[in-house]
């Protein structure tokens, strides 16, 4: 689709006025009368045996205290999603801990009381007897492998044996807390008359929650109604259903009460699944001309105490993307995901892609230094130039222009290198390729009596701007005004079954479903109009403003069509293979000699997400992702002490960047349309968080004269690195 009347235009987010005026209704704004409120008793140990749970009698205002024993036979552990070609163990997260806790913060019991305050008071009085066990706090010191994947393609050993240069590097990315502005939460009520369970949940979409509830509660999907209200951010952390949501639902069924849990910030820090927590060792074999012959990579993932439904996925994505944007024909990649005594990890903005990009791009810069080549020249010699391209690891990149992205990033960032008495300045680049989209998505379009069009989407917004982008798509296809398209999301009874909002898939998948639904509605309208006007369908001309014109000046409007034919409603289901977005990021950084303070002076972000539907919102996604990528570089780390206690469990211990730390970011889009969908779109939601860390890390290494440290690039690490490097 080429730039049209609406598609390709920087339309402002039409949902913002309601949000900024406080017209939104988030989970905790829902206040059902007579609800019982939940507070969780959470483990204070990283690893312990539970020998008893003692609930005092006569707790003030308490309806029930629920432990694992009360749930026996009522719930199963959370389901675990696997991946192709590997092993994933069935260590699903229990709703409440039974005889063992595997991380500090794990739910052990739930108190239901007449108010949240009473529930919290009572939760403090529940005594859990723990027998502490030795915690395992690093993937490589764990002997329990929960996920494993290994792929060997081509003659890797031969390539290394004959290589002119072999480059080795190891890198680590710490765990990160997702920290959405709105924490998690769920409300459930069970109507015994028709056995209908209704669950309101702060989530990325309704249908994954629905499927999770059905599975854990062993309940027919038809007997569950999931409503996702306005959602104040997720960054991946509200995709998979949470154990706490399951408890709330089970408690509503068991007690007959409406049950509400609105997570507080401290819980969110310790119990919401985290991102990253991965380390890797890489080896690259080069010929005399600096051509990459083969790659070896071993990736260790610190997965935490259990597998959340999607814990296994990011590691697999990392492994599959290890060849990046380079033409490497032989690869030996192994992923080893280990059990540790920390909260589980899971998808967090980027979800495996930033890890792959970081590991590989940092190694490429190490190689450039070792081979005595300019890092950009080394990249240019190895970029994939002809697409589609099937990688040695088995994914097919659909389209892209990696060389153009790199060229633009270099031009926009204005490289700089300097060393004086006060500071050192360096420049670095990082490229990426990301899997986006895939699976299917749905949409329904309905002609309303007033001639407006209602679109129900299986995709669901939590900050992305679906209401604007999807309306642009439908209005463009139907030739009507943006204001004449209304979107609905998030209610499992109302919207068609969809897959959800994650993996940068909304425009490519959800948007394509909207386009197909709009096209189907158009055909349906044409056929009704032909009947009304007694002409052949192909004689009708689709005019602007929702009017179909027949020859000789006769015409019919969409509202007239709606009056004549009451149920003009169509649905579409769009499915496709994965598409692959890509990009090149450049960073210029300065390290202050006296203090080690890192300042990112400027960033260039070049992304290729295929056709861009709304450049304003796309740029917003890039800048937001960049801020998260920078946060990871500069300050963020979910750290644990030697006993496995989180040391970051509030904003005192976990810093987020503020506007004051944001450098100028120059953005640019290269548009290589995807052949896989009618829009030519890919994904833009995660590029900033994927491209930024590698570029900043390479710039830091450049400033340090080649010395490498792992993020976060805190001032004490950089100060020491500068001294050790003798810079």
């Amino acid at each position: 689709m080429s730039a049209g009347r609406l598609v390709g235009r920087p339309v402002r987010r039409r949902e913002d006025e309601r949000i900024l005026r406080g017209g939104t209704r988030y989970l905790d704004d829902i206040d059902p009368p007579g609800a019982a409120h939940v507070a969780f008793v959470r483990s204070s140990f990283a690893h312990a045996r539970i020998t008893g749970v003692n609930v005092p009698d006569g707790l003030d205002g308490v309806t029930a205290v629920i432990t694992a024993a009360d749930l026996e036979g009522r719930v199963s552990d959370l389901p675990v999603q696997g991946f192709d070609g590997g092993r994933v163990s069935a260590e699903g997260h229990p709703v409440l801990a039974r005889d063992e806790v595997r991380y500090a913060g794990q739910p052990v019991a739930a108190v239901l009381a007449e108010s949240r305050a009473l529930a919290e008071d009572a939760a403090e009085l529940v005594e859990v007897d723990y027998e502490p066990l030795e915690p395992v706090l690093a993937a490589r010191s764990s002997d329990v492998t929960m996920t494993h994947w290994h792929k060997l393609t081509g003659d890797v050993d031969g390539a290394f044996a004959s290589a002119e240069h072999v480059v080795r590097a190891s890198h680590a990315l710490p765990r990160l807390a997702p920290v959405p502005m709105e924490t998690r939460g769920a409300i459930a009520s069970h109507d015994a008359r028709d056995d209908m369970l209704t669950v309101w949940v702060s989530a990325q979409d309704s249908h994954r929650q629905l499927a999770g509830l059905a599975k854990v509660l062993d309940r027919a999907e038809e007997a569950i109604h999931v409503v996702v209200p306005d959602v104040g951010g997720a960054f991946g952390s509200k995709g998979a259903p949470a154990p706490e949501t399951m408890l709330v639902a089970a408690a509503a069924i068991a007690t007959g009460r409406t049950v509400k849990w609105a997570e507080h910030r401290g819980e969110n820090f310790v119990a919401s699944y985290q991102g990253r927590g991965v380390e890797a060792e890489l080896e690259l074999a080069f010929d005399a001309g600096g051509r990459m012959l083969a790659l070896r990579a071993r990736i260790w993932a610190d997965l935490g105490g259990y597998l959340m439904p999607t814990t296994a996925i990011p590691g697999h994505t990392t492994a599959m993307l290890m060849c990046g944007v380079y033409d490497i024909r032989a690869a030996d990649v192994e992923l080893i995901g280990r059990r540790t005594n920390k909260v589980p990890t899971g998808p967090y903005r980027g979800a495996g892609r930033p890890e792959a990009a970081y590991f590989l791009e940092c190694t490429v810069d190490v190689a450039a230094r070792q081979l005595g080549l300019d890092p950009l020249e080394l990249r240019r010699r190895n970029l994939i130039r002809e697409l589609p391209y099937e990688t040695a690891l088995g994914w097919t990149y659909d389209s892209g222009d990696y060389a153009r992205c790199l060229e633009l990033a270099e031009e926009l960032v204005e490289p700089e290198r300097l060393s004086d008495g006060e500071r050192v300045v360096g420049t670095g680049f990082g490229m990426y390729v990301e899997r986006a989209g895939g699976q299917y998505e749905t949409a329904e379009a309905e002609l309303l009596p007033d001639g407006r069009v209602l679109v129900r989407s299986g995709s669901s917004p939590h900050g992305q701007g679906h209401d604007t982008t999807f309306a642009q798509l439908a209005a463009e296809r139907l030739g009507i005004e943006l204001a004449d398209v209304e979107l609905r999301f998030g209610d499992s009874k109302e919207v068609p079954r969809g897959v959800g909002t994650f993996a940068s898939r909304s425009v490519a998948m959800g948007g394509s479903a909207v386009v197909e639904a709009a096209d189907a509605l158009r055909e349906r309208c044409r056929s009704v109009a032909a009947r009304l006007l007694a002409v052949a369908e192909d004689e009708l001309e689709w005019k602007g403003g929702g009017r179909l014109a027949a020859p000789h000046g006769r015409s019919v409007t969409l509202s007239e069509l709606a009056a004549a034919e009451p149920d003009i409603r169509v649905s579409a289901r769009f499915s496709s293979d994965l598409s692959f977005s890509s990009g090149a990021y450049g960073a210029v950084v300065e390290i202050e000699r006296a203090t080690g303070r890192l300042r990112v002076l400027r960033l260039a972000a070049v992304d290729d997400a295929g056709t861009i539907v709304n450049p304003l919102l796309a740029e917003g996604q890039v800048i937001g992702g960049t801020a998260q990528g920078l946060g990871q570089c500069l300050v963020e780390e979910a750290a644990y002490d030697e006993a496995g206690n989180p040391t970051f469990a509030s904003f005192v211990g976990y810093s987020l960047l503020t506007a004051a730390e944001m450098p100028p970011v120059t953005t640019a889009f290269v548009e290589s349309p995807s052949p896989l969908n009618p829009l030519g779109a890919k994904g833009i939601g995660e590029g900033g968080s994927i491209g930024t860390p590698g570029a900043v890390a390479n710039a830091v290494a450049d400033a340090l004269g080649g010395a490498r440290v792992d993020p976060p690039f805190s001032e004490d690490k950089l100060w020491r690195a500068l001294r050790e490097a003798g810079r």
């Binding site: 919290e120 008071d121 403090e124 203090t595 300050v635 960047l657 805190s714 001032e715 004490d716």
Partner: protein, 264 residues
């Protein structure tokens, strides 16, 4: 995230307040530190005495050349005070670095002192300025210097029945100038280190944040500076006793910046 149960009192006068203070009571002023501690249940007092309504403690005035700041004076009021800005500019420089504007609108000067967070800006600035801290109780009034008041992180020599009522900052000598420098992970975050300096011909007050569990005067540096040492020489003396090599380097640099700013 709710506090444990407590009783609440909102006295209107200092006298009334003093009648309520004992071992089980905690004073609430601006609430910017206490309320999070209550919500995290790290503080579980039986009684919270809210002095927000004690109007007689809300003032900034000069008296006999000294600056007198009532304990419930908002940090934002100090930030806006022309009097402080003209004659005690170090306070203006320091208070601007306390949290974010929203926090300073609620947070009080007395609260920042009494809470004694080792990362707080105002205690270190007041230490450099040689401030006196007036504590009242039914037993009487006493006046302490910084070294007597600040005993450790979140720990002062204030007795449970005492209320910090006023901070008195002595007149600064003619020709004095000041500097404040700090290092924080992000804008508005707690400082990891900092330095306050007020320098006049033949006299200097230098205090460090992050060098010890409490704000400390760097006396050797003060003497060296008064004797004509260069900022970088005095700065090295100021941080010389810090064991950790990075922290020593950081404090040295921040002291150098603060002193350089104060010695135009």
């Amino acid at each position: 995230m709710k506090p444990a149960r407590f009783d609440y009192a909102a006295p209107a006068t200092v006298d009334e307040t003093l009648g309520l203070l004992d071992d089980d009571a905690t004073v609430l002023a601006g609430g910017q530190s206490l309320v999070p501690l209550l919500n995290l249940r790290l503080a579980q007092p039986a009684l919270v005495v809210d002095i927000g309504g004690v109007a007689e403690l809300d003032y900034i005035r000069a008296e006999d050349g000294a600056l007198r700041i009532g304990a419930t004076t908002r940090q934002a009021a100090l930030e806006r005070s022309q009097l402080a800005r003209d004659d005690w500019p170090l306070l203006h420089k320091a208070v601007r670095l306390v949290g974010h504007p929203q926090i300073r609108t609620r947070g009080t000067v007395g609260g920042s002192v009494a809470h004694a967070d080792p990362a707080a800006e105002l205690p270190v600035a007041l230490t450099a300025l040689g401030a006196r801290f007036h504590l009242a109780s039914r037993r009487g009034v006493r006046s302490l210097g910084a070294a007597e008041l600040f005993l450790g992180p979140l720990y002062t020599s204030r007795e449970p029945d005492e209320l910090l009522v006023e901070i008195e900052v002595p007149a600064q000598p003619d020709g004095s100038a000041s500097g404040f420098a700090e290092h924080a992970r992000t804008h508005g975050d707690f400082a990891t280190a900092g330095a306050a300096a007020v320098v006049a011909p033949g006299r200097a007050g230098i205090a460090l944040l992050g060098a010890a569990p409490v704000p400390v005067r760097a006396e050797a540096a003060e003497r060296a500076l008064a004797a004509g040492a260069a900022p970088h020489e005095a700065a090295e003396l100021a941080a010389a006793d810090i064991d950790d090599d990075y922290r020593r380097a950081l404090c040295t640099e921040l002291a150098r910046r603060a002193i350089a700013e104060a010695t135009p």
